[in-house]
């Protein structure tokens, strides 16, 4: 297993199986867009058959329409992007009426990212989506750095998070994905709390809190002062958090943070993620998820593996 060349010679040359199973969630392949970077899928439809993605993860949906933060909302930083969108979205009702039916028609595996300011808001969202046809899983965004109420606190306190997940768990049969906050001293602690409370899958990382200052105007660049950092800059931080969580819990993980190509994605799989999400890189290359999917397939067959699960966590042997 450690000699890539020997394996590629002895293994039969077949197309590797890219499907992955994350608990009860089946995905055609392990590559999906990250929440908030793919809208509700419509904008990228012209570039990517949505059914060819591992899943489509929606922008956060809130109970009420959310206007979002004042501009500027974006600032490029070295190999990174700061955003302070503030969860702008049309709210649950419009989502159900206008966005979900379209997504369903595409044959996509749909994961809906949910954001609430209180446990009750989360509960109403979960209940409204439970039983909706065409929804594969719900992702709880308890880690957005760009909203001032509630959100982030859920993600940084293991007790609060545990209570929230336990409160929501009985309200749906859909797989619950908990998106962890990277903004903690010990992510394993928070991960364990979420897993024990009933999370089926954990996803990480969300953006890191950051800011930029315009030295000419001597003011923060972002209208919201601070924002969330994403992109290649955060990849080392994200990868370590996935590594740590993979060593701490048994639930499957969706890894993300700075993935821009197949090698990046494979690092996350080797660290223990069962699937990956791609955010910022999509802005530059709308087809990047498909290219990463192909790159993973090539890596598997070049190295004599026949399915994705064979490499999940493989870099962990001995640690």
């Amino acid at each position: 297993m450690t000699n890539p060349v020997r394996n590629s010679v002895t293994a039969p040359v077949t197309m590797p199986d890219l499907s992955v199973q994350l608990g009860s969630l089946s995905l055609k392949n392990p590559v999906m867009p990250a929440s908030g970077t793919f809208g509700f899928g419509e904008e990228y439809g012209p570039f990517v058959p949505l059914a060819s993605l591992g899943a489509v993860v929606t922008k956060a949906v809130t109970l009420e329409p959310t206007p979002g933060n004042p501009p500027p909302r974006l600032a490029e930083t070295p190999a990174g992007l700061l955003n302070a969108i503030g969860l702008q979205n049309p709210g649950l009702e419009v989502f159900l009426r206008e966005k979900l039916p379209w997504l369903r028609d595409q044959g996509a595996t749909v994961i809906i990212n949910l954001a609430g300011g209180t446990a009750e808001e989360f509960a109403r969202l979960v209940e409204a989506l439970d039983g909706q046809p065409g929804v594969a899983a719900l992702e709880l965004n308890v880690s957005c750095p760009n909203v001032h109420r509630g959100g982030l606190a859920f993600g940084t306190d293991p007790k609060v998070l545990s209570r929230l997940v336990g409160f929501l768990r009985p309200r749906t049969d859909l797989p619950l994905i908990v998106k962890l906050s990277p903004n903690v001293s010990d992510v394993a602690l928070v991960a364990r709390a979420a897993a024990h409370a009933g999370a089926d899958i954990l996803s990480l990382i969300n953006t890191l809190p950051g800011m930029a200052i315009d030295v000419a105007r001597r003011r923060p660049v972002l209208g919201n002062v601070s924002g969330g950092l994403s992109g290649p800059a955060v990849k080392p931080v994200a990868l370590l958090q996935v590594w740590k969580v993979a060593g701490a819990v048994d639930v499957p993980l969706i890894g993300m943070g700075g993935i821009g190509n197949a090698a990046d994605a494979i690092e996350f799989l080797l660290a223990g993620a069962g699937a990956v999400a791609v955010g910022t890189a999509t802005f530059v290359n709308p087809r990047v998820c498909l290219e990463i999917r192909e790159g993973i397939a090539r890596y598997l067959s070049d190295n004599g593996f026949s399915r994705v699960s064979e490499i999940v966590g493989l870099a962990r042997r001995g640690y």
Binding site: L74, A75, E76, P232, T282
Partner: protein, 256 residues
Amino acid sequence: MYLGPARILQHTGLTPAVREMVLEAPQVATAAAPGQFVHLAGDWERDPLLRRPFSLGRVDRQAGTINVFFRVVGRGTRRLAALNPGQTVNLLGPLGRGFSLPAGEWLLAGGGLGIAPLLFLAEEGRRLNRPLTALLGARTGAELFGLSAFQEACGAVRTATDDGSAGRHGTVADLLDAHLEGRDLPGPTVFACGPKPFLRRAAGWSSRGLRVEVSLEENMACGLGACRGCVVATPGGGYENVCTSGPVFPATEVSI
């Protein structure tokens, strides 16, 4: 919408401050409307990280080419400026909603690189036989560009520079006020593109009964309406995407 490589056919320093790049992009040339933009990246991958938006400054549908005009202001434009004919850029576009092309007289007012989309608009106006006036401003004479094309397309062209080195000593906003002051209504449709303070002053003419369209700039990530990063506030209290609802807006529909 096109996504893919576009070959650089020409690349010149048009003035000491303004560069012009001619790109081979037949699909874009065919589909493009004045006021739309393209989102460009080189093969540099991470530095800069994101694409960069540039207005369609000129379009030759026959030749299948588009021209962008740009100023070097930071990392992205510095790297663009270093590319040579024969190399390619990666292009996404055409993007956004352009200028309306109403009947009647058009008044094109552009400052700095805001002149670029008005070039395309002027050529379209000439094709449509609209009576055209162009008001163009820049910091210095060396930053004014496209004058001969405007002169061919427009009944009148007035210029202003901050330092008085060409045209009137002042800004395009001064030209606009001077041009409209005291005119009878209904006047021309105003198309304004340039720095925010100028757009604000141009927008002021809406309250005097003129239709004013402004072309906005905001930092962008996707350029496709997906990320909600490029918004402008609206008088109603919400936000609109500059990349898909704009970059051109009726001045009354945005709070600049």
